[in-house]
């Protein structure tokens, strides 16, 4: 079967990686969620953790962001041990959870200022204004988040995670529940992050999302990493592609996006 078809990581050796995980195990009472997970994520890369619901993606992210303790194994983030140096780990990460963790009653700008203050940064107002601009939320900045669309909330959520420039960012299913336009907006934001040198670990259940964004992809299934490699390496795991001639039909997504016009229409809701 697929198990054991691991591809040796081409990234830097253990210890230099932004995220270094060995033999991680976690159970909740009777339920075993992680059964020995190993991953390495190179600095400045986008790493996608692909898996269906219940595969253990969120549990792994929660352990790496110090919200849960592992039963066995070790995990280092930014060279810091998540169990013994939890406080230091928290200073070098940001977590964007599965549901947009924003304050609905505050305005977008106030949300950003809140996080900037909690990260003990100088000039929180200027930081907020800069991020509102980068995420095309300037016009909505003074409005309460309760009035935002799903895409705007997600953008604000990700913007909040960038405050303080943490070297490692975890995005847990960043596009689940978003419409196609909002997904593209989030993808754009993630790519921009990696360009700036941030290491991104994202979990997703969408194959195309991993394909579009990730430098490396690992498939987590039933608490184990089945395969781990670049998209090309993963594709080579299966027999070479047959050459077929097929008429290229536009996908429904192409039709949808052409009709509604992706350009900048997402901002004005």
């Amino acid at each position: 079967m697929l198990t054991g078809m691991s591809i040796p990581p081409t990234t830097d050796p253990a210890g230099r990686a932004a995220i270094h995980v060995r033999g991680l195990e976690k159970s909740f009472k009777q339920l075993t969620v992680l059964r020995g997970v190993d991953i390495d994520v190179a600095r400045g890369s986008i790493f996608a953790l692909l898996g269906s619901n219940g595969a253990g993606k969120t549990t792994l992210v929660k352990i790496l962001s110090t919200l849960l303790k592992a039963d066995a194994g070790s995990a280092e983030v930014n060279g810091l041990d998540v169990a013994s140096q939890a406080a230091e780990v928290r200073a070098s990460i940001s977590l964007t959870g599965q549901f947009a963790a924003v304050d609905e009653i505050l305005t977008g700008r106030e949300n950003l200022i809140l996080v900037a203050r909690l990260r003990h940064l100088k000039g929180p107002g200027a930081i907020a204004d800069d991020l509102l601009r980068r995420f095309s939320l300037t016009d909505a900045g003074a409005r309460r988040v309760a009035t935002y669309s799903g895409g705007m909330r997600r953008r604000l959520d990700i913007a909040m995670s960038l405050i303080g420039d943490p070297p490692v960012i975890f995005l847990d299913e960043p596009t689940t529940g978003l419409d196609p336009e909002a997904r593209l907006e989030v993808w754009r934001a993630v790519r921009e992050l990696a360009r700036g040198g941030t290491t991104v670990l994202l979990t997703t259940q969408y194959l195309d999302e991993a394909e579009q964004l990730a430098d490396r992809i690992a498939i987590l299934h039933d608490g184990r990493i089945l395969v781990n490699g670049t998209l090309d390496e993963l594709k080579r795991l299966l027999p070479p592609a047959k050459v077929e001639y097929v008429e290229k039909q536009p996908t429904l997504e192409d039709v949808f996006l052409t009709l509604v016009g992706t350009a900048k229409s997402g901002e004005q809701r």
Partner: protein, 253 residues
Amino acid sequence: MNRHFLGDTTVLLGRSLRHIARSPDTIITTVITPIAMLLLFVYVLGGAIQAGTGEYVNYLLPGILIITIASGISYTAYRLFLDLQGGIFERFQSMPIARSAVLWAHVLTSLVANLISLVVVLLVALAMGFRSGAGVLGWLAVAGILVLFTLALTWLAVIPGLTASSVDGASAFAYPLIFLPFVSSAFVPTASMPGPVRAFAENQPVTSIVNTLRALFTEQPVGTGIWTALAWCVGLLVVAVTFAGITYRRRIG
């Protein structure tokens, strides 16, 4: 980590106070029941209640203040539950902040909101003829006891806030607390109650607290009752903080 405790608590307190400022209905719903009871007992039932010589509103107010606190603290459980459910709690926990600041901010918010509610109820009582000859020290003592009692009940409310599985569950826990004053000296003297009820009423926290507040308002000697009242408040506070702390540590792993 703890060097940020005060700063982080202040920032998070500012956040929750903004919630209250933007949804003043949390204050209105807190004071509406106590004010309704005040009106009902003074203008409808009060004429038939034998509770000493003075105006009944003077006898009644201390118990009404306790009911105000009991109904106000359920919002702590409610707000805490919403933070947990919305994921913002996890965001805070994954940030380099003093972790206990998250709880303290909610507790201090409850204190501020309850003090506002208490002032509103007090103003209504004044309009209804409540009068007290208590001096500055007497009022300070009243404020001190009310603050202690609010803190104790708020920390108690933190527990359902952290453990409830629904919004209703988080806030429903306050209902029995609201009825505790009924079986106390809050509305009628305990001497009028049958044996077992009287025994319960005289040995539960509300009676000693209400009696002490009443004595302070009417400039009567508080006697040893004030120590019983303080012991209840402090004891309740210590137990509540301990269990809330255990629940919190379990919750954040």
